[in-house]
Symmetry: C2
Subunit: 214 residues, 2 copies
């Protein structure tokens, strides 16, 4: 099996993800082919940008009418590593953690939620999710054995800001290589660990700034 490439620039990876999402939805609507210009128009990009990004997928037999959507979807999945299931866990089962755990997109997609953790003794043992797929909340002392047993590489961090760095340190020590952080703080991590932060307050601040009347 072809390994995912790591040498694609981050902005291109981000756009490849968007192409995949868009093409999957076009595929569901039973479209067959698409021209780079059409995909560009849907996503507000230039056709040249789309064509350049798609060169990261390797050589294509392009027809006169554009790219075959099923081929493109398959190549994108392979390149992004989205053709394999990846295991992940959530630490912090508050409102956001619970929402992500029960997010319907989760189980259908390429990410398998293996475990939930919380530091609140009252939450330990409770189950989250639909009956057959429900997952029990574990105490933090079970982090390391769970990560090692299931070889989990990615974690979703939805703990309060004050606890986020401590928990991140524990995750990294236990072998986690990528953290999706929802706490409104900057997480320190070694170079071989990737952190992506999503913070609703910061995002709203950006939007507020960008839409302020001059």
């Amino acid at each position: 099996m072809q390994k995912p490439r790591n040498d694609i620039p981050t902005p291109s990876v981000r756009r490849l993800s968007l192409y995949l999402r868009e093409l999957e939805s076009l595929q569901n609507e039973e479209y067959d082919t698409i021209a780079s210009g059409q995909l560009a128009e849907i996503l507000g990009l230039t056709a040249a940008q789309v064509r350049k990004d798609l060169t990261y997928l390797g050589q294509f037999g392009r027809t006169g009418v554009g790219y075959e959507i099923p081929t493109l979807v398959k190549r994108l999945r392979k390149t992004l590593g989205a053709d394999k299931t990846s295991k992940t866990l959530i630490v912090g089962v508050g409102n956001i953690g619970r929402a992500i755990a029960t997010y319907s997109g989760f189980i259908d997609k390429q990410f398998e939620l293996v475990a939930l953790f919380d530091s609140d003794p009252k939450k330990i043992g409770k189950k989250i999710g639909r009956k057959a797929d429900a997952i029990s909340i574990l105490p933090l002392k079970r982090l390391k054995p769970t990560i090692q047993k299931h070889k989990i590489r990615m974690a979703i961090l939805t703990v309060p800001a004050n606890d986020a760095q401590d928990v991140a340190d524990r995750l990294i020590k236990a072998g986690i290589r990528g953290i999706l952080n929802f706490a409104p703080i900057h997480i320190e991590a070694p170079d071989n660990v990737k952190i992506r932060s999503l913070d609703v307050a910061t995002e709203l601040e950006q939007l507020n700034f960008m839409t302020a009347s001059r």
Copy 2:
């Protein structure tokens, strides 16, 4: 009152938001001053980058020991427009919408959640949030009058992907200028409307790619 500036490049605005978050937390821990090098180190940036970004705040009387944190916080808030309360609303009261509505950071910060909307008749009239601050869920036909009455400029969109574009169109027609979109699709909008999209699946896909073993 000084209006927020619109001429700061987006990456700098994003970093100014991060500086504000970090400095507010240092202020809570009762730090007084900070050097650009220290702030840079905390956030994994270069001191030159931090100094350049801070020039957007105007002239500073710098002391030998660095910037005074309270002054910096005040200037950042003013520049970002974070010194005024901004009104916002949420459309789609599913798991994510509910989590954001009850997000404790919400009411303490500069954003006031004015209204919640959903298309499900069973949800209309239900209340979300703590007793005194609880907000009723309204039907979508109340979108336009509510936006116009309260002069709301920003909306949080947490509806299913299939409904996201339609609802966004209605929001924009009613006067919304900025949308924070949680649906995993690209939202089309005129140039004078800003869209920011947060999608957990896409973020995980990036992380998964970036941390794939070579």
